[in-house]
């Protein structure tokens, strides 16, 4: 079981190094997803299956998709077709797929060996986390909900498209107000 941790840690560090060194943002995002999956595997073998599931669902699922959407909104140009062609070439996805295959082999090994549950009965399941979260940390949950609402309203307000009816300085004035 320790080997699983070390392999996952190696995959996480390697893919994170690839994230910060890629030139193409989409390639970096692919490696980032691999890194998050490796970290989820580490959480699982560390005895935090609930957090591992949340890492996959929220981080690798929601936040990275948000990044992909933003990137696609930025790339609306003539080079979009060219990027699409590069995107489909094997050189861009061979690395992440290899790393994910390593993680998948680990996962298959764990499941075939333990039947999907953590050996030794160790770890903290969702039950303990839920009891502590909604008991002791209830104020934190309320604050988190307020933070998410503020983030939602703020993102909508900042990200909405300014009306294009005015002249160019209209937009630049709006840009200045954003900057402040």
């Amino acid at each position: 079981m320790n080997t699983v941790f070390y392999i996952s840690a190696a995959v996480a560090i390697l893919s994170t190094a690839m994230v910060i060194s890629r030139l193409n943002a989409i390639h970096a995002l692919l490696y980032m997803i691999v890194s998050l999956l490796a970290v989820a595997m580490i959480f699982f073998v560390m005895g935090a299956p609930f957090i591992a599931a949340l890492e996959v669902i929220v981080y690798a699922g929601a936040i990275m998709v948000l990044f992909v959407f933003a990137m696609m909104m930025l790339n609306l140009g003539q080079e979009a077709v060219e990027r699409e062609r590069n995107w489909l070439s094997p050189a861009s996805w061979a690395g992440p797929v290899t790393l994910v295959a390593v993680l998948f082999a680990e996962f298959i090994w764990i499941v075939s060996r333990t039947g999907g549950s953590l050996p030794g009965g160790g770890g903290l399941g969702p039950k303990q986390v839920g009891i502590a979260l909604l008991g002791q940390y209830l104020v934190g949950v309320e604050l988190a909900s307020m933070l998410l609402l503020a983030g939602l309203v703020g993102a909508y307000h900042i990200g909405r498209r300014m009306p294009r009816t005015g002249e160019e300085n209209e937009a630049s004035r709006a840009g200045i107000s954003i900057k402040q």
Binding site: A17, I20, A25, V45, A155
Partner: protein, 102 residues
Amino acid sequence: MITVPIEHVILMAAILFSLGLTGVLARRNVLFILLSIEVMLNAAGIAFVAAGARWAQADGQIMFLFILTMAAAEVAVGLAIILQYYRHTGTLDVDAMGGGRR
């Protein structure tokens, strides 16, 4: 449960955090800087969960939940700011906004 010493987990979190910090300092693309900040937050979360697993308390996982919430809100607002930045400068270079452009 693994029997890896906690120092190794913390060391891995530290390496990931350093990689994220390197990304923030070295990259000039706003998108990569936001991505590196995500890496750093994630590394901090690993340290929290490792500490919680070490003492068999749920507090570490709850701290990670709060980090997750904060990261989601931060990414939403940050990406909105990046979209506006791109609309007004036409590039994602952080240096484009400097130098008293207004």
